[in-house]
Each structure stands twice: as C-alpha cells, then as structure tokens.
C-alpha cells in the first residue's frame, strides 16, 4: 500500500490539490492535477502531470514524478480549488475574491478568465472566501463573512447572495441536490439551504448535542444524497443522515488534530479518505460483504437501524449504506495510514479512480497510483 508513494518537494506550502475530472465513461486513470499554495508572498496555482498513463498491468516500480505543466500567480492564499470542467478551475482566495482560471491546452498556459473581487468582504477588512462547490455552470461559495453566494460562470454579476447566512465562519459547502446545499460552520452546525426558497433562513439545522466543535469539511455520499461525512477541529469523523435530525449516525475518532478534508471515493463509496493537521492521511474502508446486510446484524443503535430498514431482507442493498450501522467496533471498519511517515499537516487530498494526491505544509506533494479500492 505504501510502495510507489514518494514526496515531491515543490517549494510552496500546498493548501489544495484536485484531480482534473476524467469522463466517467472512459476507464482512464486521472493524469492531471492542480494545486494551490498558501502562506507565500507570491502564491500560485499550478497544473501537474503524472506522465503517460501507465499501461495497466505493468509491474513498474518506478512511479513517474509529477511534472509541472504550467502555473499562474494567485493573489492571496488559495483556500479552495475546484475544477469547473476540463478547462476551467475556480479558486477561493484569502482576499475574498473568487477567480476562474482557464487552462489552455494548446499553449499549456493558465490565464484568468473571470474574477469577482471582494465577493466575500467585511465593510472595511477583507473576508477570506473559504469554500467552493461547483455544478457547472453554477458555482456556490462561502466565506468568513458568513455569506453564501451563487454565481454562474460566464455571467459577470452575482446570481444570488444569502446575506448573514451564518454568524460564524462557514468553512465548507457541498451540494445535496441540484437545488440544495449543505454548509458547515465554526460553531459546529450543519445547515441545509434550499435555493428554491426565497429568504435568508436555512431549511434545516443539525448539530451535535455536545460541545460546539467547529466543523471544517463536509462531503456527500456519491450515490445517496442524504448521507454526509463531516470532520472538524477535534479530528472526529461523523457520518450523518440528514433526514434523521439531530444525531449523527457514527462518530469515530480519527485524528489527533483538525481534520481538513474528507472525501468519499466517487466510484467506490465504501472507501473514505480524511487528512489532518496531525500529518496523517487515513483510508477508511467499510465492508458489507456478509450475506446478511450489515444493518440487520444488530449493533448498539438498533432502534435507529430499524428505522432505516426500509428494504426487506435480501432486498436492494444499495439503498442501505454500510456507513450507517454506527458500530465501528464490530471490526467491519478498517483504517490504514496512507503516508509512509509523519509529516507536517496534510492540508488537502483528492482521490479519483485508483489515484490519490495530497499536499502538505512540508511543501511536498504525494501521489499514489495504486490505491487499494
């Protein structure tokens, strides 16, 4: 699991890494990823290539080093980065700006295609934009100013702003449906917003009944729109069913410091990845290989399990997510460290196909092309 994962030192602290999407029909592994830097006097976004896509089955020990394809100056820290499509990247800046970069494949250069300066702002100071989620051509951003802003790429103005959506910083946002988003904030709340409704109130608020631990990241299950995973300041991984209300389904101790990103694997959602300030990157694997669907095997939260048992035994198992058994002590959850040794904070990770990329505060990028999924 750890072979073929080497550090590439890049002289900039990496705040975000993202694979360029590959078309779902092709079986190709991703070969291009983008990174954003932070805490530099001159920050950059860069595009890297991991070379020719290996002929599958080649038992090649020597993994190609990521090669820099092109880069562009970025004003402010890159606090979030998403691919809008094959050619365009949206970034969130610590100056409060939202920027769209276009990658020109012929000349292999990057240029600024659109800029919304001070999209997030305070009356006097700058307010960093902290999170982006895209559903081309729509872009939703959130920031320290507690605003939620809806843009459309290629349209100059702002489509809609939810002012004062939150009295604390919104750290991350994800789509639940095409018209619904979920945000997490620094007082530990998950809020669901429905764009079909006017007004500035969330349609639902969820939070842990205990301490108000700030939440830093959220990701939705690729197939099941009601399941999200969150991670926060205390390094705990929570899996929620947003239909169920105020209690997360599972709470697992993951890291010893802030969890910065959490991702379900897009095509194999029994696998989840998280990375943290404590320098570790974890690969979570939940298995539901037994004959009896896991939810019927019993566990601590039997009452909750029976509520979610909407399919008859032996019925369509895809409706029940194996994440919702809430009983990690039964050994059906395996966790592995993906990095060979302790590093400085792992700020970001992305996983697509069999490829994993992550960036650290030690100014290194790690690429693993053989993630066991």
């Amino acid at each position: 699991m750890m072979e073929g994962i080497n550090a590439k030192y890049v002289s900039q602290k990496i705040s975000k890494t993202r694979w360029r999407p590959v078309s779902s029909s092709s079986l190709q592994q991703p070969d291009i990823f983008a990174t954003g830097s932070w805490d530099n006097e001159d920050n950059k976004i860069s595009i890297w290539s991991i070379g020719e896509n290996g002929i599958s089955g080649l038992d090649d020990e020597f993994e190609g080093d990521p090669q820099l394809v092109c880069e562009h100056k970025h004003n402010g820290d890159v606090l979030d980065l998403q691919f809008l499509d094959q050619d365009r990247i949206v970034t969130a800046s610590s100056t409060g700006a939202v920027i769209i970069f276009r990658h020109h494949h012929n000349s292999q250069t990057l240029s600024v295609s659109q800029l919304w300066e001070r999209a997030h702002h305070y009356p006097c100071d700058n307010a960093p934009c902290t999170g982006i989620v895209c559903n081309s051509p729509e872009i939703v951003t959130v920031g320290e100013d507690g605003r939620i802003i809806l843009f459309r790429a290629d349209q100059e103005g702002v489509l809609r702003t939810i002012e004062n959506a939150d009295s604390s910083t919104i750290h991350d946002v994800t789509f639940l449906r095409t018209t619904e988003i979920l945000t997490v904030n620094s007082i530990g709340q998950l809020k669901i917003w429905d764009f079909r409704q006017q007004g500035n109130e969330p349609s639902q608020i969820l939070s842990l009944t205990g301490d108000r631990v700030p939440l830093h990241c959220v990701d939705r299950h690729p197939n099941q729109q009601h399941i999200v995973a969150t991670g926060g300041q205390d390094g705990m991984l929570c899996i929620w069913d947003v239909r169920q209300g105020n209690m997360p389904f599972s709470l697992m101790e993951a890291h010893s410091a802030e969890m910065w990103e959490v991702h379900f694997h897009p095509s194999n959602p029994d696998h989840l990845f998280s990375c943290s300030e404590d320098g570790s990157l974890l690969h979570w694997e939940t298995s539901s290989n037994s004959d009896t669907p896991s939810f019927l095997q019993g566990g601590r939260n039997t009452s909750i399990v029976s509520r979610s048992a909407i399919a008859p035994a032996g019925g369509n198992q895809s409706l029940i997510s194996s994440w919702l058994t809430g009983d990690s002590s039964k050994g059906r959850l395996e966790t592995t460290h993906m990095l060979p040794s302790q590093t400085l904070s792992v700020n970001s990770l992305d996983v697509l196909g069999q490829c994993l990329v992550c960036g650290t505060d030690g100014e290194a990028i790690y690429v693993n092309r053989r993630v066991p999924i």
Partner: protein, 642 residues
C-alpha cells in the same frame, strides 16, 4: 570575545554617500533596517531622506530551489530526533550513517537542479548566482562526506583508505566522462587523452578499469606484449583490504609489502624502460611522490594527492596518523606562496579530527546556519561532541540549531519548520518559540488555527489566549458575533464571552429582537462559559417558551433568572416588563409565592439598591407594581374560592 578571523563584507547602500550623511540603523530578527539621518558627517544637519533600506544577510531561504533543501532536511532531522535513546550504540551507527547519506543525497539533488537552472537561464547575473550556489553546495557535500567517513562511520585502519578512496572518486567524476569520450572515439589508444585516462584510473585505485583501457594499447603494440602482460599482472594482483574477510590487518600488510617488492623489482629490472607511461604507472604503484606530483593536473587537489599517496605508501594508515600525512600532502602539493583557501583549512581540520574547528570554520565561511546546524546535531547524536560551554550556557548543538531556526522564523512560510527545531532544543527552545510564535501574522482563520494548534500541543496557554483574543476582537469588529464566540470558547475566555453576550443584549435592547438566533438558540454547553452567556441563552429560551405559549414554564424561567442572580441588575427592568404580559393573562400564571418574589425583586429595584435606568420611567414600575398586586389578589381569590 574572540577575534574576528576574516574581514567583514561591506554592502553598499544605494543612493547613500557616507561622506555626506550619517547612517542610522536598527537590528531586526534576520536583517537590519537602515536609514539616512539628517546629520551631516561634517556636523550640523540637513534635509532628510524618505527611504528605509532593509539589508538581509541570508538570501538563501528565498531561493525556491534551496527551499527544497530546507524542507527535506527538516524531514530527516525530525526522523533523527525520534531514534530511541535506549538502543545500544552499535545498532545505531548504521542508522546514523544512513541518515548522513540521506542528508547528502538531498544536497546533491539540490545541486543538480541548481546546475540545470544555471545552464539554462538567460540572465547572466542569475547564472552567476546559481553557479556560486552550486560551488558552495559542492564544497558543503565534500566536507559532509569527509565528516561521515572520519567521524560517523569512523572507519578503522584498513577500511579507512578504502572509504577515503570512495570519497575522492565521488568528487572527481570527470574521469568517467573523459574515459567515455576516449573509448567512443575511433582509435582510443591514439586519443590524446588516452594516457590521462589510464593514469587517472590508477591514481584513483581503479585497477580493473585501468586494465580494460590498457588492453586497447596492448592490442596496438604486439611487440611489447610481454611488457603489457607484466603490468596487467601487477595491477591485477594488487592486494585490496577486504574488511569482511577473516584476513587481519597484519596479514594484509604482509601481502601488500610482498606485492610492492615485486613491483619495485620490476622497476629495478628496467622492465618498463622502453615505455615512459608504463614506467610512470609502475612508479606510481610504489608510491613515488615525485612522479605523483608530476601528475598534479590529473590529481587537481591536495586531498586527492593525499589519498593516492596513502593508497600506494601507507594503506594501513590509522586514523590518528592521518593528520601528519594530510599536512605534508598539502604542503607538497600547494604552492608555498599561496594562501590556503577556507575549504582547505576545513578539510585539514577534519583530518586532524578537530571537530570544533571544522564547525567553527564552516560557520564563518557560510552565510547560513543550515549546514553547521544539521551536521553538529548529527555528530551530537553520535556522541562525538564534548560539552563545550559557551558564554550563553547552552551547548554548541543547541546554539547552532537556535540560530538556524530563528533565521527560518523570519521567513513568511518556512516558520513552520522552525517550530520542530525549537522543540528539540531542550534549554532555550521553548522560550524562543514563545517569543517568536506571537509575531506570526494572522491573515486568515486557517492560519490562526494552525498557530493555535502548535501552541496547544506545547501547553502554551498564554499564547493561545492571546491569539484567540486577537481573532475574537477582529471578529467582533466585523460584527461576526458567532465567530467571536467560537474563539472565546476555544480560549476558554469567560471575560470575552461576557463581552459578546453584552453585545447581543445591547442589540436586543436597541432593536427589540435578537440577531443571530442560529447562534443563541444553539449554544449548547458553551453557555456555561460565562454567567452572562448563560443568561443570554436562558433569556432567549424564555422568549421561545412564551412564543410557544408555554406560559407557566416561561414564568418559572423568568423568575429563576432574577432570583438565581443570573440576570444582571441592569436587565431586571426589562425582565419585569417582560413579566407584564404574563401577569395580564386571563389565567393565573404566577403562584402566590412567585408573585411575592417578583414583588420583592421590584422593591429591590426601586429601593435604590440598583438605579432604574432613565429610559424606563417610574410609570412603568408603577404599572408593574399594580399588575403584581392584581395578580396576587386573583391568586388569593382562587384560594378562597376553593
């Protein structure tokens, strides 16, 4: 105070004429701020100049390629510190050697990259700068490698010469290039560099390669076949000490002397008299110093000369004897008039096993503490440094690491690396960190969170509080009450939480409604952080209960807020006014006891224990008073009816 051994460098300040004006300056953490004063050199004063110049000594930390060196070596450094102390030292030596090799490979990688950039760049000034950096790294790696051989690996007699040979071969790579060129040519034996290649191989003790190249010449001169065969035989039979075998040093020595006698015999016999080159090779094999010196150009350095000398004259040299040969080699090789370069004195000090001199000379010669810091740390782990008391009370290793880390801390991005270095300086590291960490600029919440995490992990509670307070105040200034509260909770700062609650309550009094209900409604256990915050939460709950028409619960809560002294006195008026609608309900909400308590509170309010606020005139108090009496009457009525 030690004397300065070298002349300090002068840096001219652009636009400044020292004959005209006096210069003022102030020290910074890694630089000097310099400005032109109004005072003239000749006395008197004149108009000032608006510029302030920043003079920085260490350019290296801003070089993108060298940055990789700092990051990678940080990784190695941290790994080294984690090696457990309790392992016996014989198990640790291979680990230390391996770590030393890691450091060196990092230097080499950096050097190669710099070399590529130096060659490809268009800018002449940059090319020179890169070239300089490459030569410095070359020298650094050379010194480190020698230190590894002599101090860390500490090879004993026998292996010592072999390791030194490796060292020389690694740093004289042009031989292979020349050889490739010669062998690739049409007629290698007639190439002008042919004999240079053969002799170079012999000088480096690479007999097999020398023989392979010699074969080409032998093929050209069939008449001299016997002679070539003889030399080939001698080269092949040269004994090389093998530390793995059971052969002892003495046995090897005997074998070697025997072989040397054989070579000498050939020389006396004039067997190679007809071919000058072959005769020279033979003379080299017996260690003839005059002949060696004839090939100065091929040797190119005095330390190559030294190692070759040792190989052919004293292959069983002991480490303690090295310095004698080193000094004599240097004298023989170098021009007596030329001044030894810093690199030469450093290498000589290493051969003399004077570690402290090596470190001292390197510190002076280089403008960055990186090399001496890491090398000294590694040597300290090998237990090679005696405790050397400096004026400042800490030991040499710690001093150098502190200097290095302080330099790192001035960098806008590399400061994070410095934290780990401070962690491993037991005496002063913590103090340095405490002072420096508060100066890191906090532009975003994310950066502040990282800094706080660093402080929390080291139980620096003061710094945590101060950073949280800065962030909370910033949030408050921008009216982000939720963020401000979140920071106060992190710092467990009850005072600030009280401040935030006051803000909320002020807002309520001003506007009549609560802002940021999502925060107040969901305070959770954080409510207990401060009394005022608890009051805020409970007060909001009262409003909610009233809104849900749960009047008796609301009433109970309202009363408890006053009687339990959670509500601030300044708010009592508002609370009593809030009680009015409850009192005026058709059904009786407050029991007799409760009503009495309310009256008591009212009396306390009016009796002067707390001054009624001017915007709540006496009339309101009177209304409340009346309502209370009415309520009491109704309650009594209820009782009498039953």
């Amino acid at each position: 105070m030690e004397e300065v051994d070298v002349e300090p460098t002068t840096t001219p300040i652009p636009g400044f004429d020292s004959n005209q004006k006096h210069l003022g300056f102030v020290w910074g953490p890694g630089d000097i701020l310099v400005y032109e004063t109004i005072y003239k050199a000749s006395g008197g004063s004149a108009g000032g100049c608006p510029f302030v110049h920043e003079v920085r000594k260490d350019e290296d930390i801003y070089s993108p390629i060298l940055r990789k060196l700092f990051n990678e070596s940080h990784h190695i450094f941290v790994g080294l510190q984690r090696i457990r102390e309790d392992l016996p030292s014989k198990n640790k030596k291979p680990q230390f050697v391996s770590i030393s090799k890691n450091y060196r490979s990092v230097i080499r990688a950096c050097m190669e990259e710099l070399q590529q950039v130096a060659v490809s760049t268009q800018d002449a000034a940059m090319a020179t700068q890169y070239g300089n950096q490459v030569s410095i790294l070359l020298a650094v790696e050379l010194i480190w490698n020698l230190c590894e051989v002599l101090f860390i690996d500490a090879a004993p007699a026998g292996s010592l010469v072999l390791h030194l040979l490796d060292w020389v071969r690694l740093h004289k790579a042009d031989v292979d290039e020349k050889a490739r060129e010669v062998l690739a040519s049409e007629s290698p034996a007639e190439h002008q560099a042919y004999w240079d290649v053969v002799i170079s191989y012999v000088l480096q003790g690479r007999m097999d390669e020398a023989r392979q190249v010699l074969v080409k010449q032998a093929a050209l001169q069939p008449a001299a076949r016997v002679m070539f065969k003889l030399l080939d035989n001698l080269l092949m039979k040269m004994p090389i000490f093998n530390p793995g075998e059971t052969q002892t040093l003495t046995e090897f020595d005997v074998k070697w002397r025997h072989w040397r006698e054989e070579v000498d015999h050939c020389l006396q016999d004039q067997s190679f008299a007809s071919n000058r080159h072959l005769e020279d090779i033979c003379k080299i094999l017996v260690g003839d110093e005059d002949v060696l010196l004839e090939y100065k150009e091929l040797l190119s350095t005095w330390y190559h000369f030294l190692v070759t000398r040792l190989l052919f004259s004293h292959p069983t040299v002991k480490p303690t004897e090295l310095h004698y040969y080193a000094q004599s080699s240097m004298h023989m090789f170098l021009d007596t008039r030329s001044v030894p370069e810093p690199l030469d004195s450093i290498l000589l000090a290493a051969f003399e096993f004077d570690i402290h001199q090596v470190i001292k000379d390197c510190s002076i010669a280089l403008n960055n503490w990186w090399f001496v810091g890491h090398l000294t740390d590694l040597l300290d782990h090998c237990k090679l440094l005696q405790s050397h008391n400096l004026h400042f009370g800490s030991n040499l290793r710690e001093f150098l690491l502190l200097e290095y880390a302080s330099g790192l801390f001035t960098h806008h991005s590399l400061w994070q690396l410095a934290v780990d270095y401070f962690d491993h300086c037991p005496e002063f590291g913590r103090v340095y960190l405490e002072l420096q960490i508060e100066r890191v600029p906090l532009d975003t919440e994310r950066k502040a969170l990282k800094v706080i995490r660093i402080c929390e992990q080291r139980q620096m509670t003061e710094q945590v509080r101060s950073i949280c307070k800065i962030m909370a105040k910033k949030a408050l200034r921008n009216n982000r009450l939720g963020s401000a509260l979140s920071w106060s909770i992190r710092a467990k700062d009850a005072a600030f939480a009280t401040l935030i609650s006051e803000r909320f309550l002020q807002d309520y009094c001003a506007k009549g409604t609560f802002s940021d209900l999502d925060l107040i409604d969901n305070l959770g256990p954080a409510m207990l952080l401060s009394d005022r915050l608890t009051f805020l939460g409970k007060y909001r709950e009262f409003h909610r209960l009233y809104g849900e028409k749960r009047f008796s619960d609301a009433a109970k809560l309202l009363l408890s807020l006053m009687t339990a002294k959670i509500a601030p006195h300044s708010f009592w008026m508002t609370l009593l006014t809030d009680a009015l609608p409850l009192l005026e309900q058709k059904e009786v909400i407050f029991s007799a006891d409760q009503t009495h308590e309310l009256m008591f509170c009212l009396e306390e309010l009016t009796s002067g224990k707390s001054v009624p606020t001017p915007d709540k005139p006496m009339q309101v108090l009177a209304t409340v008073h009346t309502a209370l009496r009415a309520s009491l009457a109704r309650v009594k009525q209820l009782f009498t009816l039953h």
